[in-house]
C-alpha cells in the first residue's frame, strides 16, 4: 500500500493530478489516501517532487 510521510509533505497536489481513481484528499495541511479506492498503481509515488509517498508491501 501507499504510505505518506506527512512530515515531509508540502501539500502541493502533484500526486492528486495523476491519480487515476481520485483517491487522494488534500487540504491546506492534510493529505489522506482512501485505501478502499486506491489501486496501488504508484503513479503518485513516482511524481512526488520530494519523496513524500512510498509503496510498502502489506
Amino acid at each position: 500500500m501507499i504510505e505518506i510521510k506527512e512530515d515531509r509533505c508540502d501539500f502541493c497536489g502533484t500526486c492528486v493530478s495523476v491519480c487515476p481513481v481520485d483517491c487522494i484528499e488534500l487540504r491546506e495541511t492534510v493529505i489522506k489516501i482512501d485505501r478502499d479506492v486506491c489501486t496501488n498503481c504508484k503513479l503518485c509515488v513516482y511524481v512526488c517532487p520530494i519523496e513524500t509517498l512510498e509503496f510498502v508491501d502489506e
Binding site: 497536489g13 502533484t14 511524481v47
Partner: protein, 401 residues
C-alpha cells in the same frame, strides 16, 4: 454568504481571481473560494512572466515586481551559453503580492472572497447541470447554490473531476518541480538562465531567475516519465551543490505543472474549467500565469453574460471555449506539438543546436532561430514555431506558474 450566487469560483490563483473579477465587473454576484488561509501562499511558481502577455490582462505594478529581465541565457549540456537579447521585457514577480492584488481587484469589483474554504463537492440540478458548490469553512459545512461554477483549483483539479471531466494527467504530460529561493548567490539581476541536459533535468530544465541582488529562484522540472528512478529534489540538490554551494535556502517551493494539450472538455452545463485545472499552461515552458489570466478573463465575462441572459447551459458557455481557442488555444495546440518534438531531442542534438546558434551573428540569435536549428529536419514543425514564437521572453519564460 447569502446564496444563491450568480457565480462561485473555486480557487483564488490568477485564473480564479481574474475570472471572479471580470464576472463581478459584468454585474454578477460572485463568491470566490480559496482553500488556504492566505491568498497567494504557498507560492507554487518560478514567478517569471513576459511583460507583453501580462499586459493583455493587467497593467504592471512595481509592488509585485521583484526584477526586470531583458535577456535569457540558454546553457547547453556541454556548457556553452547562448545569450538571447532583443527578447522584450520580462518580470520575476512576487507571486504572493501579485495573487493578493488580483483577489483585491475581484473584491473591489464586488466579489465576496472566502479563505480557508475547502470545496468537497459540486451540486447538480435534476437535469444534471452544475448549480452549486459544497465546502467546509472553519469546521462548518456549506452547500451554496450558483448559476455558474468556475473550477480554478489548479493542476490537481478535483472540481473538474466532480463535474465529470477527465482531468488526470499522463506522466508524460506533467513536469514535477522543486525550487529553492536562494540567498547569497552570484546572479545577474537582468538575466534568466536555463540549463538543458538529460543529466541535470531529464525531460525538463533548470531555471535560475534573479529576484534581486544576490537572490534567485533556482529550480527544476523533470518529466513525470523520468521521476520514478530519481526525484526532482535529488536532481536539484545536485545542481545547487555544483553551482551555488554557498547559497542559503530561504524558501522551498514544490509542485506539478501540466505540459499537456488543453483539456478536451472545459465546459459543462453550468460549469467552466480554467487555468492549470484546464491544462492551459504553455506546454514547452510550463508558463501558466498569462494563459490562466487570459482564460479567467474570458470565463468571467462569459459567466456574467450567461447569468445576465439566463443562458447557463454548456451550449452558451462554449463561447468561453471558442474565445479561448481564438486567444491562445490554437497556439497552445501547436506549442504542444513542438513540445513533443523538443522532448525527443538528445543532449547531442542540444549541443549541436547551441553550436550552430553560436556560429550566427549576435543579432540572429533569436528564439525562433533556436527552434529552427533544433528542429532543422522537421520542416512542418518549423512552420509551427514561426507561428507560435514572437521572439519575446513570454515564448520560453514562465515555468512553474
Amino acid at each position: 454568504m447569502n446564496d444563491p450566487f450568480d457565480v462561485i469560483v473555486v480557487g483564488a490563483g490568477p485564473a480564479g481571481s481574474v475570472a471572479a473579477w471580470h464576472a463581478s465587473l459584468g454585474g454578477a454576484k460572485v463568491l470566490l473560494l480559496e482553500k488556504d488561509r492566505d491568498i497567494g501562499l504557498p507560492v507554487r511558481c518560478a514567478e517569471g512572466v513576459g511583460a507583453a502577455g501580462l499586459q493583455t490582462v493587467i497593467e504592471p505594478e512595481p509592488k509585485w515586481i521583484a526584477s526586470e529581465i531583458t535577456a535569457l541565457n540558454l546553457i547547453s549540456p556541454h556548457k556553452k551559453t547562448v545569450t538571447l537579447k532583443n527578447v522584450g521585457l520580462g518580470y520575476v514577480l512576487y507571486r504572493k503580492i501579485f495573487d493578493n492584488f488580483l483577489a483585491e481587484k475581484a473584491a473591489h469589483a464586488g466579489t465576496e472572497v472566502l479563505t480557508k474554504a475547502y470545496a468537497n463537492g459540486l451540486l447538480f440540478d435534476a437535469e444534471g447541470a452544475v448549480n452549486g458548490v459544497s465546502f467546509t469553512h472553519l469546521g462548518k459545512r456549506f452547500s451554496l447554490r450558483a448559476k455558474v461554477v468556475i473550477g480554478a483549483d489548479g493542476v490537481e483539479s478535483r472540481v473538474g473531476r466532480w463535474a465529470g471531466i477527465h482531468t488526470q494527467l499522463k506522466l508524460r504530460d506533467i513536469e514535477t518541480c522543486v525550487q529553492y529561493t536562494l540567498a547569497n548567490v552570484d546572479v545577474n539581476p537582468g538575466v534568466c538562465d536555463f540549463y538543458f541536459s538529460h543529466e541535470i533535468a531529464p525531460g525538463g530544465y533548470v531555471w535560475v531567475f534573479p529576484k534581486g541582488p544576490g537572490v534567485a529562484n533556482v529550480g527544476l522540472g523533470i518529466s513525470g516519465e523520468y521521476a520514478e528512478h530519481k526525484s526532482p529534489l535529488r536532481y536539484l540538490n545536485a545542481f545547487v551543490q555544483e553551482h551555488f554551494p554557498k547559497g542559503s535556502i530561504l524558501t522551498t517551493t514544490v509542485g506539478g505543472v501540466p505540459v499537456a494539450p488543453t483539456n478536451k472538455v472545459i465546459v459543462k452545463d453550468g460549469f467552466m474549467l480554467v487555468g492549470d485545472a484546464a491544462h492551459q499552461a504553455n506546454p514547452i515552458s510550463g508558463g501558466g500565469i498569462v494563459p490562466a489570466m487570459v482564460a479567467g478573463k474570458i470565463a468571467g465575462q462569459v459567466a456574467a453574460e450567461a447569468v445576465g441572459t439566463g443562458r447557463t447551459s454548456a451550449k452558451f458557455l462554449k463561447t468561453y471555449e471558442k474565445e479561448w481557442y481564438k486567444a491562445q488555444g490554437n497556439t497552445h495546440k501547436m506549442t504542444y506539438r513542438l513540445k513533443e518534438a523538443v522532448y525527443r531531442l538528445t543532449d547531442e542534438d542540444l549541443n549541436r543546436t547551441a553550436d550552430s546558434i553560436l556560429a550566427l551573428p549576435e543579432e540572429k540569435r533569436t528564439i525562433v532561430n533556436v527552434f529552427k536549428k533544433a528542429l532543422y529536419n522537421k520542416p512542418t514543425l518549423i512552420l509551427d514555431a514561426l507561428r507560435v514564437f514572437k521572439d519575446r521572453i513570454g515564448d520560453i519564460f514562465e515555468p512553474l506558474s
